[in-house]
């Protein structure tokens, strides 16, 4: 195919991001026309349309090879402050698809609530921030886009302002987020102190000559890693995740635990791969792959064990999402000088894409259950399949896929990830991951067991079918299934995009 930059001006490479931002603004304007009326269909439609079009454009770019090795490499805008390449487009696809699903699902969730337009536009703004995170080529852009993602998220988590759980979740999310962004900013300032630049490529070339400031650089790297740990809900900044995911409106939990986490990884991949090249940095004593390896092991183990002890499905999913952050961290941990870094990081990216579908679907199912006024614990789910077999089937798909059982996308992505780690010589990481995966089957299958096998403890009165959530859940389920046979192109794209980072 003809490379895109021969047909379009360079700035057009950020079209997906611009589309998301534009959608947010349009939503604001629509709300401004008549703030007092609720038009859920129009609002959800605009949001979904915007994210789908962003998805379409990003997908088209990705297929057309925009910014990828085949067509002249990454497209740099604003002197490299924004970079559009395979990685950023790949992650934009994740964000846009999650945003689309969440928008559609929110149609029912938000029925009869106020501030719907604000909800959708905040989601779109956060998605904009995420996609900008994916294409940040400078620590300044990283920080700005990180905040652009975080700030709407805080508000969204506390969206149910009369619900104490939601408010508490929002508060905790905000507090941890504010601290970690401060830590992150300080880390950036230290890196700037050492290198005199915020551009990732210039940082990379300057950090090797840090001289006696190597300690400062090391602290800076650790602090930046801390900022990412927050965004990806990894240990030690994971405290907020269970609370925030549990208290937030379920579509927002879905959005945060899938897209926001992926965004954290998007930017972490780029920053660490580009700005702190393993070859020069590790030899200085700043062994960040080791740091991430430790974080990965602790995160996945802690997340899985905590998830296993939960009684509340949403909270279990929250902890499991911490565990999955641990798996994805392998993409940063199993790196070494001269190792197959591109393939392990690409595998992690592919896992995040699959995760985007299965985890969003799982949380949206929880949203549907909340919509039905069924309780939140495992017991409350008992016998749900007798009432809603199709939805429960979808949930079963999500659960088994999250556990990494074969006929679903989650299996292949986990396999690729662990395989990549082994390839890089980090077989122990893969082993820990595999053991954790096996363990996770226990609590995932509890949901399945409750839905299908247990007898209902009471009678259900599910009421009308929430069409929006239904559609979104089914889309997610189909996505999870389709990603098994279609995993090939996905992982190949991801790995070539990741390899380009290390080139």
């Amino acid at each position: 195919m003809i490379p895109i930059q021969t047909q379009l001006p360079t700035w057009a490479a950020v079209t997906p991001t611009l589309l998301l931002a534009l959608t947010a603004l349009v939503l604001f304007l629509v709300d401004s026309i008549d703030p007092d009326s609720t038009r859920p269909t129009a609002l959800a439609g605009i949001a979904a349309l915007g994210s789908v079009s962003a998805l379409a454009v990003a997908g088209w770019f990705l297929l057309a090879g925009t910014g990828q090795t085949g067509s002249g490499g990454a497209i740099e805008l604003y002197s490299g402050a924004i970079v559009v390449d395979g990685l950023s487009l790949f992650f934009t696809v994740i964000f846009a698809s999650v945003a689309a699903m969440v928008s559609v699902a929110s149609y029912d969730y938000l029925r009869d609530r106020t501030y719907q337009a604000e909800f959708y536009s905040l989601v779109m703004l956060a998605a904009t921030g995420m996609s900008l995170m994916g294409s940040s080529g400078s620590l300044a852009t990283v920080f700005v886009s990180l905040e652009l993602t975080s700030l709407p998220s805080y508000a969204l988590v506390a969206f149910l302002k009369k619900n104490r759980g939601s408010v508490e979740a929002g508060l905790k999310y905000f507090l941890v987020g504010a601290v970690s962004s401060a830590v992150f900013a300080f880390g950036i300032s230290l890196i700037y102190a050492v290198t005199g630049s915020l551009l990732l490529s210039e940082v990379a070339s300057a950090i090797g000559s840090a001289g006696d400031l190597v300690g400062v650089a090391g602290i800076g790297v650790v602090m930046i890693a801390g900022g990412f740990a927050f965004k990806t809900a990894s240990v030690p900044f994971h405290f907020w995740a269970p609370e925030a995911y549990e208290g937030a409106p379920a579509p927002i939990s879905a959005f945060l635990s899938s897209a926001s986490k992926a965004a954290g990884f998007a930017v972490a991949f780029r920053v660490f791969a580009v700005a702190f090249p393993i070859d020069s940095v590790v030899s200085m004593g700043i062994d960040w792959p080791l740091l991430f390896a430790v974080l990965a092991v602790v995160t996945m183990t802690l997340g899985n064990f905590a998830a296993a002890t939960q009684e509340n499905v949403k909270r279990m999913l929250a902890y499991s999402s911490v565990g999955h952050a641990g798996y994805a961290l392998i993409g940063l941990a199993a790196l070494s000088s001269g190792g197959p870094n591109g393939s392990v990081m690409g595998a992690s990216m592919a896992h995040l894409l699959v995760y985007g579908f299965m985890n969003t679907g799982a949380f949206l199912f929880v949203a549907m259950v909340e919509h039905w006024d069924v309780g939140r614990t495992f017991e409350d789910y008992n016998g749900l399949a007798t009432q809603a077999p199709v939805a429960c089937l979808a949930m079963t798909v999500f659960m088994f896929s999250l556990a990494g059982l074969p006929p679903f996308g989650g299996f292949l992505s986990k396999y690729a990830l662990f395989y990549g780690a082994i390839q890089g010589g980090f077989w122990w990481l893969a082993a820990v991951g595999a053991i954790n995966s096996a363990l996770s089957l226990f609590y995932y299958s509890r949901v399945v067991k409750a839905m299908w096998i247990e007898d209902p403890s009471g009678t259900f009165d599910l009421g009308a079918t929430p069409l929006g959530i239904y559609v979104a859940v089914l889309v997610a389920a189909v996505g999870t299934l389709v990603l098994l046979p279609a995993f090939g192109p996905v992982v190949e794209t991801a790995q070539s995009a990741a390899t380009a980072l290390f080139a």
Binding site: L405, P406, P407, Y419, G420, L441, K449, W452
Partner: protein
């Protein structure tokens, strides 16, 4: 493309049935499941493969497409059948249809889901027996577990949750062990393979390409991987001492599910053992001949002894399956044409016979609502046809000549006696033959107590003969068993053809 069509048709049938209303689901599933039966019979009639699929023989109905590339390894969509796989495919389709028909009576709740899952399982089983790429094979292998989990868990007996979880956990951990073992082997092969294609890996392994991995020497690696895979498959077979999930699962599962479980799912374990352990690493297998043979004999004797102590008819049949699978292992380790071929044949035979037994027990249970030996007697009075078939099946189990069971066991013993894998092989074989006596003992004992004598059963309704749709599957199975017993060469020829190449390896044995 017939294999893809077969699998796809079954999947689509599963979907259709899943969405169909409960009232028609059973009939619809039975009709739709005839399609794969026809397909598999067509494959049988058009079968033209020679040799073993993994050993460079020609493969029937083969398709090979590149699926995805992962870190230097290509994963292919590679399916095809040889003389070992085809009989199992036929067995699967046939038994599925019969099991579905036999489910019409006992399953009265959420029918469309039940039949949908049955068909879904059938599709995955077909995938397991036809896949020639490890990855594809593994996906299907694991995918079989999910419907089985639900089938036991939702429609099972009083302790169904326990049984379902136990089944699920046992088999999944086993799969993990097996998976790790196999992948370690593939890594150990290094650059000599560039895909997870089973023929390629088999060739490389047999050519001794295995290198060291992370400092583990090749020999150790091969042994460890062999053990890991053996354990993984042993759970599925099951072999003593990994058999404890089986009686629970069988007892709790509804009879049609038991039919599938005993008839086809157990064969996955032995099939995989044959395909992986015994085909790819014959040296290691023969090196471990003594423990394997020992385990086989123990399975035979111990399973039979346990069966002897049971009161539950289903439990009796379940434990006797453990015993029967012991014969298969014994045949496999013999490494002779008759041993391995007989083991393969015994898989088919046992699938049919145990299917028949479970089905017959299920029919009796549908009528009496009990399976306890002590609760009833003289069933022959009220259900003469069913009783007759059950007795015929029991004789088949005991290895009565002219029935499939006899052929299978006879081939195994013949092969095992002649085996030179280890010095004590005749001894082990003799010990295993002793198991037949026990089988005869417990089966006759149970039959005698339940079927004969004066009718006694405490019910508030009249127990009458079984319905036609319950009897027909039994009859079909019985006919098939007898046909195979009379003419084992319907399958045995192609089995032998596929088995022979793998006996030829570098060791001093032949």
């Amino acid at each position: 493309m017939i294999i893809e069509a077969l699998i796809a048709v079954t999947f689509i049938a599963a979907m259709v049935v899943m969405l169909a209303p409960d009232e028609v689901a059973g009939r619809l599933a039975a009709v739709l499941s005839l399609l794969p039966v026809v397909g598999s019979l067509y494959m049988w009639s058009g079968f033209d493969a020679t040799g073993n699929a993994l050993m460079g023989g020609s493969v029937a109905f083969e398709t090979k497409l590149s699926w995805l590339e992962l870190g230097g390894y290509t994963l292919n969509w590679h399916v095809g059948v040889d003389g070992i796989a085809l009989p199992l495919v036929v067995l699967t389709t046939l038994l599925s249809t019969l099991a579905i028909v036999s489910a019409w009576t006992p399953i009265d709740d959420r029918q469309s889901q039940f039949y949908g899952l049955m068909l879904f399982m059938e599709a995955n089983l077909l995938g397991v027996f036809t896949a020639l790429d490890f990855f594809v094979w593994f996906v299907f292998w694991e995918a079989v577990l999910l419907p089985m989990y639900f089938l036991i868990g939702v429609w099972g007996g009083p302790r169904r949750k326990y049984a379902a979880i136990k089944f699920f956990v046992y088999t999944n951990i086993a799969s993990l062990a097996m998976f790790i073992g196999f992948i370690a082997l593939v890594f150990g092969l290094g650059d000599s393979v560039s895909s997870l294609d089973m023929p390629a890996i088999a060739a490389a392994l047999r050519a001794g390409e295995l290198g060291s991995l992370y400092g583990i020497p090749a020999a150790t690696l091969q042994s460890v991987a062999f053990i890991a895979m053996f354990l993984g498959f042993a759970v599925k077979v099951p072999i003593v001492p990994f058999h404890t999930w089986l009686p629970d699962a069988h007892v709790e599962a509804p009879s049609p599910v038991s039919v599938m479980l005993a008839g086809v799912l157990l064969k996955m374990g032995t099939y995989a053992l044959l395909r992986f352990n015994f085909t790819m690493m014959p040296e290691t297998a023969t090196a471990f001949a003594v423990p394997i043979a020992l385990i086989a004999v123990i399975s035979v004797i111990y399973g039979a002894m346990l069966a002897l102590a049971q009161q539950d008819l289903k439990r009796i049949v379940a434990y006797s399956s453990v015993s029967s699978m012991g014969y298969v292992i014994l045949g496999l380790i013999a490494y002779t044409t008759y041993g391995v071929g007989g083991a393969t044949f015994q898989m088919i035979a046992h699938g049919l016979i145990s299917g028949l037994m479970f089905m017959a027990v299920g029919v009796i249970y549908n009528a009496t609502h009990t399976r306890m030996v002590g609760d009833m007697s003289g069933m022959a009075d009220r259900m003469p046809v069913t009783t007759g078939i059950l007795i015929a099946g029991a004789f088949g189990y005991m290895g009565l000549p002219l029935m499939a069971g006899f052929a299978g066991e006879f081939f195994i013993f013949k092969g095992a006696f002649a085996s030179t894998v280890t010095a004590g092989m005749p001894l082990y074989t003799a010990a295993a033959m002793f198991g037949i006596v026990i089988v005869a003992g417990y089966l006759l004992f149970a039959m005698q107590r339940t079927l004969f004598g004066a009718f006694r059963l405490e019910t508030d309704y009249e127990v009458g003969p079984a319905a036609l749709h319950e009897t027909v599957p039994l009859a079909v199975l019985l006919v098939t068993i007898i046909v195979l017993g009379v003419a084992p060469d319907l399958f045995f020829g192609m089995i032998q053809d596929a088995v022979n190449p793998l006996l030829d390896f570098g060791g001093e044995l032949s």
